[in-house]
Symmetry: C2
Subunit: 128 residues, 2 copies
């Protein structure tokens, strides 16, 4: 992942085409996010992510390519491109690629119950 542009108001990077994605890439340190950590991962066929839990952070997984299994609190669920999974902090979660193509996903972690306003209650239109 490479940094492209950065100033006090925004930062831009690139992870390249998803079809070429390999390994795991973390966003926070490079883009200096302060509300979330985000990772972008490709698991090869047969590969598993670490089964883990969190203290304070909720996670949202977005599957962008492939098929696989998600282990949630000891039970397996089928996942595939387009699956979105919100996981509470304290339960175990892990992903496994049981397909023949890479399993690619985005994982966002942010502090549970931290969101106040959102969309129309936090945003407002400005003149372009």
């Amino acid at each position: 992942m490479k940094l492209i542009e950065q100033n006090s108001n925004f930062a831009m990077a690139s992870v390249g085409k998803f079809s070429n994605l390999e390994g795991k890439h973390f966003v926070k340190d490079l883009l200096q996010t302060t509300s979330m950590e985000v990772s972008i991962t490709s698991l090869a066929p047969g590969e598993k992510s670490l089964y883990h839990q969190h203290r304070q952070n909720e996670e949202l997984f977005i599957i962008v390519a492939g098929i696989g299994l998600m282990l949630l609190d000891g039970e397996y669920y089928k996942i595939e491109e387009g699956s979105l999974i919100r996981v509470a902090p304290s339960i175990g979660r892990g992903l496994e690629n049981n397909g023949v193509e890479p399993l690619k996903f985005i994982c966002i972690q942010a502090k549970v119950n931290s969101l106040e306003g959102y969309t129309l209650t936090d945003g407002n239109l400005v003149k372009q």
Copy 2:
């Protein structure tokens, strides 16, 4: 977007294949996230998103398909599949599809400075 599975610890939905994505889909109400709002959007060629700012929420945009322009604080920047853009709450931001294919992106908003621990300082491995 349809809900697939839900209990007190997690919720799972599907937005379908990204190649078939149309319009804008919000995650929070369906999956009951409490740390973030997430939207998944497809802009047709020539289409623009609303130019807006936020009060408290940082946003991260992840471009998953297509090319376009991002207007940030009055200046245009090229974006494409794999671009990641972190935007501070108070500046204007908007996207525009100036390509010939749909521009598809994920936008995450969460409260600026709300993240405490993350990854290894918030997570721990559990036995599978």
